[in-house]
Symmetry: C2
Subunit: 82 residues, 2 copies
Amino acid sequence: MTNNKKAIVYVRLKEGVLDPQGVTIHKALSQMGYNEFVSVRTGRFFELEIEANGNDIDKRLDEVCSKLLANPVIESYTVEKH
Amino acid sequence: MTNNKKAIVYVRLKEGVLDPQGVTIHKALSQMGYNEFVSVRTGRFFELEIEANGNDIDKRLDEVCSKLLANPVIESYTVEKH
């Protein structure tokens, strides 16, 4: 049995980019009486299981993020490895 | 100026619940030649800014998660406070 590695990629909209989903959630919270919430920003994350014997994982993870998981024009990403 | 608090809510599908988006991404990775990825699971997160003087924040955050941010039938959530 191999001990696969795990990486989590967090993708969020860059600062200054409007987040309509967050705005909608914020409005819904206010309407529900949760007025202590000042702002809501949304993001996605991806839990990737990676074969332990893969080479160049950092470089390839970075490629995967910018090519497939995030849109670098409006989104930024961070990678957390476990 | 108040020092607002920040909380991040991570929502993911419960184990055993099929994640079609993750499956699709995994297939795409294979087709692009990234064969070292064994599985992909997707999730969402929400960054909430909360007024510093709010009371009962933990309880209210929990309500917000189960009522609005997550579907407790198929999703679980974790809250990270800053």
